[in-house]
Point group: C2
Chain length 337, copies 2
Amino acid sequence: MSAKQLQVRMARHPDRVLCADDFSVVEADMPTMAPGGLLAQQLYLSLDPYVRPMMDPVRSYVPHLNPGDLMPGFGVGRVLKSDSDALPVGSYVAGRFGWQEFASLDAAAVRRIDSGLGPVSTAVGVLGMPGATAHYGLTQLGKPQPGDTVVVSAASGAVGSLVGQIAKIKGCRVVGIAGGPEKCRYVIEELGFDACLDYRAPDLVERFIAATPDYVDVSFENVGGPIMDMVMGRLNAHARVVLCGAISQYNTASRSTGFEVFELVRQRASLTGFIISEHMDHWPGAFAEIAQWIKEGKVRYRESIAHGLRSAPEAFMGMLTGKNLGKQLVRVADENA
Amino acid sequence: MSAKQLQVRMARHPDRVLCADDFSVVEADMPTMAPGGLLAQQLYLSLDPYVRPMMDPVRSYVPHLNPGDLMPGFGVGRVLKSDSDALPVGSYVAGRFGWQEFASLDAAAVRRIDSGLGPVSTAVGVLGMPGATAHYGLTQLGKPQPGDTVVVSAASGAVGSLVGQIAKIKGCRVVGIAGGPEKCRYVIEELGFDACLDYRAPDLVERFIAATPDYVDVSFENVGGPIMDMVMGRLNAHARVVLCGAISQYNTASRSTGFEVFELVRQRASLTGFIISEHMDHWPGAFAEIAQWIKEGKVRYRESIAHGLRSAPEAFMGMLTGKNLGKQLVRVADENA
């Protein structure tokens, strides 16, 4: 017997704009459980922007992908076979499943999920990597003080939506930047930001100046490019710019920035890049706090769900061009099947 | 009786490249001593790059200069009249003299200089603002560890030359960048850097890559522009880029940067701007340490001296285009007169 499963692999390095031909959907052998490990079926695959730069053949914090490699990603799944007492068959786990239906996982590298606490999909969203990213980046690097003006780009996304809500909890004035009136409405009305600017508006700069009368103390940067440059020109003294991502740049050839670097001296400001996987000690405390805020109604989240592993490439490309609202997931298998 | 003195004022905001017509040399009334203050004759005026951006009408950490304003600057002088017991007539003081022959100074805002410890001119150089800048920026923001590769631009200047020598004391590999073979020879042979690259060399990038086989852990950035962009493309994991200045940009219209901002995420690196006047508590300890290093022969310095206050504009313009070696001073009056 040789059962098969579906996998999505990187077919080749993208030539700037990611396209369907950069992926291949293949039938592969079912993984076999390693001794002491576990075998799990993926229910929800998380699609996250950080995966795009991993497809480029450049020096980075992890080895870049090579053609033929399984696309990487966090996922939530159900344990089918287990050598670990702590993770019995039937339990839910979050971990690095990759873009495939079934995965052999290291018991030490997964988190067990209590499905009674809420939708298991949140374990790769607001209570997963994006949640930890928002919490760590804002609180540890952005260091928001009451009354600070905090600007968040990609404000309706998985990370940005949470950053802004935490900044509101911390007593800040929060200005989001998002693509289109629908997202901006969501960010203001449902997430409670003080303002949200449509970056496609022709008078964006004027609106941004009007929305930041006291300049910008914290910028949580998810997009890079001209939007970042605009924010960099309006920093307050001792501003902290938290560099989480630069999604507007991932599919472009020319990636240079346009801001004046000396502005960081004038304002005694800092720009700090980070990778949340280097701060695992921060995750449990962040999740406890976010879970409490969700319970108290102070934090809300949304999910955009694509169906079936074959839809992952299109959903991923869509997310990179801003088609999603909130956390982008792929439902790989039916939770209740 | 109405004695007169010379002053250099800003005649107008510069139009990109600074020129002689941006300054005016005027005869002004001698200053009168304020109660509790002192009147001092300037001996050495310090010319520092930070003054150039102050001439542009933009929002900054201090109000920008307006046409007709006295050009600002640190200086060393001798007390002529005093209401302060701590600063008697004949003593030497360092403070914000400005570009003029005599200044009325606040006793609380000057430092008394012990002329027996060495040339008084060092109080605006290696044992003055540039010295504090190099020491604070490197040790507090750059945080060099033994074995780190430290890159210093404007390596033969007042700040850069000291940064590199301190980094050597801290056990780092130090790579300087300077303009021309003469400066590079000085930086290697006299200051003891491991390497110094002439930024005018056509194969600069290849040389830079060869000189930084382990990438760059700390960059002390004084120049900005394409040289900074080159360094930003070669950061090591967790690199610290200390933004002290961007001298190559001060006289230009297009001040945008050319590096890829996401590289700061890939390398989990930071870029931090600072102004040394916000860290006055650091100065005494820094000077004690630097003075000790000078005594031990571990730190060397040089001065470029222009003669007479009227030469200040030309010397300042020359410094901005790299004509000086080490600390640029103007001898305003003869110390031994």
